[in-house]
Symmetry: C2
Subunit: 471 residues, 2 copies
Amino acid sequence: MKKLLIAAAAIPGLAFATPPIMPPGPPPSPPPLSEMAPGLRDAALSDDLAWNLIEGLTTEVGPRLAGTEAEARARQWAVARLRELGFANVRVEDFPMQVWVRGAETAEIVAPFPQKLAVTALGRSGATPEAGLAAEVVGFRDLAALAAAPDAAVRGRIVYVGHAMMPTQDGSGYGHFGPVRFAGPGIAARKGAAAIVIRSAGTDRDRRNPHTGMTSWPEGVAAIPAGALSNPDADQLERILARGQPVRMRLALTPRWIGERMSGNVVAEVPGTDPSAGVVLIGGHLDSWDLSPGALDNAAGVGITVAAAKRIMDAGRPRRTIRVVLFGAEEVGVIGGAAYFERHRGAGDVVFVSESDFGADRIWRMDASFDDAARPIADRVAALLGPLGVTRGTAPAGAGADLGAWARDGVAAISLRQDGLRYFDFHHTPEDTLDKVDPAQLRQNVAAWTAMLAVVADAPEPIGRVERPRP
Amino acid sequence: MKKLLIAAAAIPGLAFATPPIMPPGPPPSPPPLSEMAPGLRDAALSDDLAWNLIEGLTTEVGPRLAGTEAEARARQWAVARLRELGFANVRVEDFPMQVWVRGAETAEIVAPFPQKLAVTALGRSGATPEAGLAAEVVGFRDLAALAAAPDAAVRGRIVYVGHAMMPTQDGSGYGHFGPVRFAGPGIAARKGAAAIVIRSAGTDRDRRNPHTGMTSWPEGVAAIPAGALSNPDADQLERILARGQPVRMRLALTPRWIGERMSGNVVAEVPGTDPSAGVVLIGGHLDSWDLSPGALDNAAGVGITVAAAKRIMDAGRPRRTIRVVLFGAEEVGVIGGAAYFERHRGAGDVVFVSESDFGADRIWRMDASFDDAARPIADRVAALLGPLGVTRGTAPAGAGADLGAWARDGVAAISLRQDGLRYFDFHHTPEDTLDKVDPAQLRQNVAAWTAMLAVVADAPEPIGRVERPRP
C-alpha cells in the first residue's frame, strides 16, 4: 500500500504535499476539494488527531454509560474539543431516558465441583435477591435447542445457552449468533426459567472477561436475571455439564433501574457553501458500556469522523455542510440515534449518511447506495480508496445503528466497512481499552473517510433519494 | 520434528512399535528401560493422560487456594487418580499453615477523571477499611525510583510503581522485574505509604486481568494494602498521571488471615528394583492461586510428571524408585516444598530431583547438574531429547520452587526448561484456564520427561552429590 501511495504522489497532478510558492497579490482560491482529494487522502495517513481524540476520551472520561454523570462528562469533553478544533454550531441536543445500572455480579458452581465463574449482567437484566439464587443448571447447545425445549425442562432452572460464533471479516457472526443474547433471555423467561446465563456473544476463546450488551423481553414477559459467562467459563461449564451429574449454580446479579436521566447528542458542523445541496450527516457514538473506556466502541468512530471532517474544514469549504453527530445512548437501545432521526427527519435536508461504529481496524470494503444520477460519486470514491486496499462490494450501504434509520428511509449512504476479525474479541467487554487501537489502521480509516468526504460533500451532482434494492 | 522421529523409527534397533511374535514358553523379560527409551519417548508423543489429568483437576476441582477446602478436594482427587492409575504408596503428608484469603477489591480514580481500574490484592496484602481509603497517587516508573524517593514524597499516599517486564523464553524477566511485586510493597510501607498498587508483574499488554502473587514485608514493617493493576489499567493510570494534575484514588482491598488450616503433599511411587540406588524425586504443585483453575500453574506439572512416571511404570520396573510429589501450598510461599525437604532430607535416599512448574509449552533446553561419574547420564538424556527439538544448556539445573532446596543441597538435577514466552501473559491471573494448554506442546513435555526418567531411573552409574558450580 505504501508503495502505491508513493507512486501516486509522484504523479505531478497529485503532488499536493509541497505548497506552491506564493506570488504577491491576493491569495489564489484553492482548487476544488474533489481535485484535492488524493492529496488529502495521502496526508491523512499521517493523521494524529483521531488518535489524540480517542486517547483523550478514553483517558479523561473513561467508561461512559448512557444517562450517567460519566456520559454527561463525555458531552462536555466533546463540546470543548469540537469548539477548540474550530467546528461551527457545536451544540448538545438532549433527550430523556430510563437508566439501567449494573450491581454486584457473581456466579458459582455449588455442586458437583464448587468453583466461581466469571459472569456479567446483560443490559436490562432482571435482578436476583442480594444473596443470589441457587438452582439446577439446564444446558442447551444453542438457541434453537432452547426454543425447542419443553417448558418443563426449563421451569425453575438456570438456563445455559451456548453458540458457535466465529470471527468474520464482515462482522456477520454478530447478526447470526447475537440472538442468543438479544432473544435468548426472553425465550427462557417465557418458559419459566429462574435465570439465564449465556455464552458471551463474542469470538475470543481465551479471555476471561464476559461480554455484556442489551437483551430484550417480549411484551408481557417479566425480566429474569440474565448474564453472560466469559468464553473460557462457558467452556468450563460445558465440561462440568458433560460429566452428567446434576449441576447447581448460585447466581447473584443485582442491577437496577434508577429512573429517568438526561442523555444527549453532540452536534458540530463544517458549513457548506450551498445550502440547497443538502447536508452530509456522519458520526459515531459517544456513550460506551460501563465495563471499559470503549476505545473501539466507539471512541474510534468519534476520532475517525471528527478527524476526517476537520481535514476537510482545514482544506477549504465544501459545497455541502458536513454535520458530525456524536450520539448518546447508542449501546442501550440506539436512543440517541432514534431521537435525532425523529427530531430532524422533517427538515428534509439530509442527503447522505455514513457512520463509523465498528472499531478502528482497517477499512477493507466499501458499499454504496445512491440513486442512478449520483452513482458516479460512488465510483469516484471507490477509485480513491483502491490505493488504501479497499475493495468495492455489491451490498447495500446500511449505515450503522445510529444512522441506519436514515438509510432505511431512502437517504443515500456509503458503508466504509472495517475489518471485523478482532472486533468481537473485545466488544462490550472490560478489554475494549486503548491498546486495542492500532494507530496505523486507524490512520487508514481517517484517510478513507477524508477522501470520501472530499468527494461526496463537494460533488456537483445532486444526491437524490434511493429506492432500496429488493433483498 | 515429526520427520526426524519417523526416520529414527526406521532404524531397526529403534523399532519398538511392532511387538515381536511371541514364541511359546515363558515370556522373555523386557529389555532394560534405557534401551526402550527412544520408543517410550516416541510413544509419549501420543499421550493423552497428561491432558486428561489437567482437564480433570481444572474442571472437577477448579481453583484451589492453599489451605482451603478446595485444596483439600484437590488432594482427594489426586489420591483417587493416582491409586486408580496403579501407583504404589499413595499417601498425603499434611502440614499446618496460616491462610490468607482475598476479600473485596476495587480501585477507582476519584479525580481528575473518575473511572474504575481493574485491581487485585497481592498475597499477604494488608486490608483497607471496608469502604476503602482515598489518597493522592504518587507514581514511580520503576522500583529503583521508588527506593530513591524521599519518605516525604510517599508518606500517606497511594504509591504506584511500574516496570518494563518483557517476554523471555527462559523466563528470566520474572526474576528481574518480579521484585516490584515481591519487595515493592515493603519498600512503600517502610516509607509510610498508605497503600500501593503496582503494574502487574506480567507480560501481557492487552488483557484486563491483574496478576496476583505473594509479596513480603520486612521484619517490623506492618502490611499495607497492596494490589496489582492489570497492564492496560496501569497504562491508563500512567496516562492519567502524565496529565500532570493531582490524581486521587479510592482503593478497597479487604483480604484477611483466617487462621491455621491444614495443607498437604500428595506422594506416589513407582517402586524400583534396587533400594540402594536411591530415589528419583519429581513433581509439581497441586495448589493454585484463587483467581483461576491454574491450568498452567500448575495442573500442567501434575499432568506431565504423573503421565511420564505412569509410562515408565507400565514399561517395566526401573532400577530406582520414582517418587512423584504433588506439593501443597506452593503459591503462598513454598510451604509444602519446605515441609517435604525438612521431613525427608535426613533419609539421604534422594539422588536426583526434577520439577515441572512452568506451564505446558514445549521444552526447549535442558540443563543438568551431575557429579563427574554420572555425567554420561546427562549426555544420554540430551541425545534422546535432540529429536524433540531440545537444546543443551550450560547453566546449572536448579529444579523449581518446591524441589530447589534439594538441588541447592547438592542433589543431582535436570531442568527441562519450558518455553516461557507466553507464560507470564497468564501467570497468577484469572486467565490461567485450560484453553491455554496446547495439547501438542504438552505431549512433547511428556515425551521428554519419559525419556529422561527412563534413562535416569534406570542408569547403572551411581548418582552422587554435586559440587555446586561457582557463579
